[in-house]
Amino acid sequence: MDIERATDEELLAQARTTPRAFGEFYRRHVHAVQSFFRRRVRDVETAFDLTAETFAAALRSVPRYEPGPGPARAWLFGIARHVLSEALRRGQVQDRARQALAMQPLTLDARDVETLELLEDTPAVEAAEALPDEQRAAVLARHVAGESYAEIAERLACSESVVRKRVSRGLRTLRARLGESR
């Protein structure tokens, strides 16, 4: 199965046996989930903490997931709402799902916080997540991280002209997608 072209429901079904399928599902929706929490809690770190717990809880539920009448995204946001209400009720973010999965805590330093702030509320970044990997890496490196074409080329081990082409194609796709969503 071509994971990049699979529907969300197909990804979740595939995730029972293929870890990369859940990774793709995560990449498609992580910014939307982070934005959902960002509008509801006061700081970007707490929003990220809630996002991490939401995806961990979703991963734990993957073996029980059955496609229903609603989209898989609605299922994910149902989990997000539950994680948020639990956190508000108890006064702190729960980590049960991450503990059950034996995930290491992610600590955020100043640069991480800055990056999270930089990426929040940017529909273009969200749309960029759906680009093919090569284009996505090039567009985000050039226009979010502000790296030069030479730096990106060195990091991605390809020529500058290849990077320029990837950025150009990625931006063209983004323009088209953002234009559709307006």
């Binding site: 990774g23 707490t46 702190q92 529909p123 931006l171």
Partner: protein, 418 residues
Amino acid sequence: MPYQTPFERLGEALEAAAERQIAPTPAKARRRGWTLGLFGVVAAFGVGAGAWAATSLLSPGEPVPYAFGPPVAGVAEGAPLPGTVKLLTTTVPDPAGGPPWGMRYWETDRKFACVQVGRVYKGKLGQITRGRVFHELRVGVTDNALAGCYLQDGGGHALAAVQRDAMAGGAPTPCPVAIGSIEIDGRSVRCRAHRTIDFGLLGPNASRYTYRVNRRDRTAGALGDVGGYLVVQKHIKPVMTVVGFRHKDPRLDTRVPSGPAGIALTPVSPVMRQVQYAAGTCRVRPTSAPTGACARQAGYVPIPQPTVGDVRAPLRLRLLEDGRTFRVRFRARQAVIDGRSAYTIEIRRKGGRNSVGREYEHNLPAGGLVKTTIRARDGWHGTYVVTARFRTVRARPGPLATPAWPGLLVGREEITFR
């Protein structure tokens, strides 16, 4: 090792967890201390950037609206004079990248000098909303924007030093201070700011200025022959001091927090360190004086005071049919030719102390008719005294340069509301 964003690290951790979950013997869960609590941690870093992804992705939106219609010659701040409109800079970088910041300057027919600050995209000044929509700032928009018009001094130059909180896209914050929340259209909106913007006009005598950003002092040349300056940085907390008296009895404790003036004639903000004027260097020190810290060196030219003759004239009031709206008319014996003078209509409850005023900010010749319509506010009942005055600005006014009170009496009449 290249930097991975928190999202990338979390994605990898989830994929690893997915692998463990699929494996026949899943890893045993173990208690770990999570560092972030919902209400426990306050970031020690700067507040949100709210930046945008790719500058080439911006799409055009509606221009930033004029709050009261396009500028009109001879009215309020007046219309821009042809040939005076110029972009003083278009290259001030934003701390989070994206389109640079710029500053526009123009002069008006009513002796104001105006500036606008915003993000620059495709050579235009504007504001960015939702990270991807660009709204042009047209010449003359001074509300809903980082902008202002300042009365020119006797030499035809304006001085102003402004510090404002702003959103990352270039719009001013909806709140006067970036603390707490306010209600807009019945909705509670959190008061937050992404940027602190220092901008203004240092005047023609300024050549260079030094400012502090991220604990480093930098020096830049004053912009254009009007001495413009623009400093953009991530939002910084205002330096607050306490004014008033401390007393053990809370009823007598008058202490209140006070920040530096948001606007002064010359710099006062702690971001501005010093200014090089022709008359010498001014080291900027915090002061609450409306003339700022550099009034001595800036070379403000006093505004010539007009010789005002008798302005008294009969005042005519006419109550309209609704019993709440009234018209005021009188002959202006003294001409109004620019923003340095104005007629004011003042309304006060008979025997009361408080009054409200309505500026008549129109140019008009001597002998011209002043006429305006005013509607009584809710709760105005009984007899009110309507007074017309002619006011002029002082020779050395503050940065806002409004005409001085009480001015000269034109006339006074009474009116009764039902």
